[in-house]
Subunit: 238 residues, 2 copies
């Protein structure tokens, strides 16, 4: 937790918040704060700044808050990810949120285990909890939008072409002949398959939607390795 993320309900006056629960415990147990200590804070959906500890008791923390800075720049990368198993989903959502991605589609594909779609990890509150962890890690305040797309064909035929249009649109596919570009200076659309990859039919549909099939070497990687590896390669950094 590199930033304490505040929501409107935390405010007890125009510039003061009172915290209990997870954020309070982090401040107390991990940061071991005392009065006067200054913490990184941010308002969910808004600016970041400083929070000065006014008081900390056995059950709550009060901060005086000054919100002065815009959150870090988002990444212009839309991720379309074959639904991973729930534990992996949680880690991947945290990681891509921390990297600054603001739009994620979780897609069904042939090699996705159907049971994943029944997981409690897909409840909106469960997804939001992971996104919050990612924001806290990266000192960001802007939640990504995560959409579930349990039907491959209508998504790829009807929605994906509009998302991909005008972007550097890529589908990661280890057997592709074309290497993954690096340091891309335009918006990116990036589709990543499940363990085992997209099927030939799926890659053909993704290509028909405007994506180029690319590889990052011939080693099959776990989703939690492949996703940051691809995004870290693509992102513009100057």
């Amino acid at each position: 937790m590199n930033l304490i993320l505040l929501c409107k309900e935390d405010f007890i006056s125009i510039n003061r918040v009172r915290l209990q629960g997870r954020r309070y415990e982090h401040a107390r147990e991990i940061l071991k704060v005392t009065s006067g200590k200054i913490l990184h804070v941010g308002l969910l959906g808004g600016k970041t700044g400083s929070g000065t500890v006014i008081s900390i008791t056995e059950k709550e923390l009060e901060l005086e808050v000054l919100l002065t800075h815009e959150p870090p720049e988002p990444l212009s990368v839309t991720v379309i990810l074959a639904m991973p198993r729930p534990k992996v989903l949680n880690r991947v959502l945290q990681g891509i949120t921390a990297m600054g991605i603001k739009q994620v589609f979780l897609l069904n594909t042939w090699r996705v285990d159907k049971s994943y779609w029944q997981s409690a990890a897909l409840e909106p509150a469960a997804i939001q909890a992971q996104l919050i962890l990612g924001l806290e890690q990266a000192r960001d305040t802007i939640l990504p939008e995560v959409q579930l797309q349990p039907r491959f064909k209508p998504f790829v035929e009807d929605i994906l072409p509009t998302i991909a249009a005008g972007t550097c649109a890529l589908a990661a596919h280890p057997v592709s002949s074309q290497p993954c570009p690096a340091n891309v200076q335009q918006a990116v659309t990036l589709a990543i398959g499940p363990e085992g990859g997209f099927t030939t039919y799926e890659i053909e549909k993704l290509v028909a939607a405007g994506l180029t099939s690319i590889h990052l070497g011939n080693r099959p990687l776990r989703v939690e390795t492949a996703v940051p590896a691809l995004i870290g390669r693509l992102l513009p950094c100057s």
Copy 2:
């Protein structure tokens, strides 16, 4: 497990292996193999190829093995990683092994929790178990070499300059002014700090050893995100 990794002790004749335990269970429970099925296999430290199921019983599996292919190309990247906490270490070792890295130094730095050095995860057998998982994931057979460096200064002063010489030598440091290069066509030496980063003193020592301080944006990332992001960006892919 995208490849069943064999060792010399598994062979019961020149081209036949008998497996029990974890690999047998994977073949039986996950792959649900029957006689005649062909599996990806590789000999630890040697070639990869095919294993044809000769028999599978209630307790063991016999394969006829044909080793024909060289393992995938290694990555010419040496990773120097501030010792992460044990659970993260396991995931990171698997990931960097899968990406093809063959040399890893686990380094003590100021912000590394001293208790990490006492962890059972650092026992040679525990480290090797993680490396094996990474090899199985990426269909590789060549173990990386992992060295523990519990003393920062002697390593950075006496050993690192030789490692870094002639390579693209980088230290990841979010507040650096220089961006991380991409698609680097020469050997790379990459130092990655702990959560919280290197101290100013440490960065100065790394720079004196020949490394250039670089960033991948200003977002603090978890080690398990930063490591694949940096390696995915740097690796030559054509």
